[in-house]
Symmetry: C2
Subunit: 251 residues, 2 copies
């Protein structure tokens, strides 16, 4: 029997993790390590996981996808979440497990990802939202944010929306959805695309906030994108508002 390749859908509260996968060798706990520890315990040998999105420290996920290969894997695939969850810390849950073909790779096989950036728009921060939202107490024109978001749609060179100093050559990405959804004092920015540059969603959120605050006009988005100049876009807003919602694969 060949090695099994298993896909897991994972949710986590990133507050206490140094990201999904450690970026700079700090020794702080990562979500990947927590998953590997439990899988290795169940398999009674070392198991490595591949994550679709290398979420940063403090970033959350409701639909991260990972895969791992293990031979043998004695737990029925569909029961894997039930075996893993009691062994995982309460801030990580495996939502689903599915068998996938040998060549499935959580990162390289992904065709689209959806992120949500959440802003708590109120004069005073709600303590119950503080871990999962960025706080913006100033007056915001959400109409302007919605208008500005439209300029992101389509295929563009998003170099202006990449953390400076990132060694990525091809900065062209396609954005399929860029939507600003209001829900009481919450403003959710949903961005779905075929791929994202480092810090791209947080810089997009910072730029849409600039439009909401009236510091740029929505139509200036066109120029900001065309300039390929990081300095013209908004600040990188804090990680706590960001959540990886979904990773899609071709059937």
């Amino acid at each position: 029997m060949s090695t099994r390749n298993i896909k897991l859908t994972v949710a986590y509260d990133g507050t206490h993790y140094h990201g999904f996968q450690e970026q700079r060798g700090t020794g702080l706990p990562t979500v990947q390590e927590a998953l590997e520890a439990v899988l290795s315990q169940l398999a009674q040998k070392p198991v490595q996981v591949i994550g679709a999105g290398r979420t940063d420290a403090g970033v959350h996920a409701l639909g991260q996808v990972v895969n791992f290969r293990c031979d043998p894997w004695r737990i029925p695939v569909e029961r894997t979440p039930l075996a893993m969850n009691p062994l995982l810390p309460a801030d990580i849950s495996v939502l689903k497990a599915e068998p996938v073909p040998q060549d499935f790779h959580a990162r390289f096989s992904a065709i689209a990802k959806t992120y949500r950036y959440s802003i708590y728009h109120h004069r005073i921060m709600s303590p119950l939202q503080r871990l999962y939202c960025h706080h913006e107490p100033r007056r915001l024109d959400t109409g302007a944010m919605k208008q500005a978001a439209q300029y992101l749609l389509g295929t563009h060179d998003f170099k202006s929306f990449q953390a400076q100093g990132t060694p990525v050559r091809d900065t062209v990405r396609t954005i399929y959805r860029a939507e600003v959804v209001e829900e009481g004092p919450l403003i959710h920015i949903y961005v779905r695309g075929n791929g994202f540059l480092y810090n791209m969603v947080r810089i997009i959120a910072g730029t849409l906030l600039k439009a909401g605050l009236g510091k740029i006009k929505p139509e200036e988005m066109e120029h900001i994108i065309a300039s390929k100049n990081r300095v013209l876009a908004g600040v990188t807003v804090p990680p706590r508002g960001l959540c990886l919602m979904e990773v899609e694969y071709s059937k």
Copy 2:
């Protein structure tokens, strides 16, 4: 000028507190202490607060009310939240401050309180909901829960819904609202009444869950109330699902 009496509306994440007001001298931090420390710092003398609801360890609030008297209080009343919030920990926020008459007492002047008990109804707990919801993975008949809730309305002796061994003689309370609201995987139980016995809302939630699980029929609520027997009601569900939403006063 006479001493000022100031009413504050306060929100907090109760996860890391031993309740609003310490109950059994454990020395763990309380919300009351955190508020008093900041008010005393601002007033440069000891200030004591009176809370409307003595929420238990782990219980949250979005609309707790407290009052404090201080002479002089040099901060304009309406700006008091802006002065307090930067000095408070991030899990406590003052939402509003209002001057009130000398005889206003946050607890004794209250005419109604609203609590919400939140249940995450899904096979697997969401890590982002774990601090603010009770997890119920089993199949629930929410129609039965809604029906059962109706029996709570009106004036009853709620002795069956009081923690055993509580030295309260008068266990008659009036419930104005008992509503089960579904919101995706969340089930919120709202209870508004003129007063609540110790653990009453958590026992109500535990009893409605029994109805949802089919362990009691909704119409058995009538007998459970009439019996004045704590043993017939459901278990006291965990504090994390409970939130004090609002405290009302006569105008």
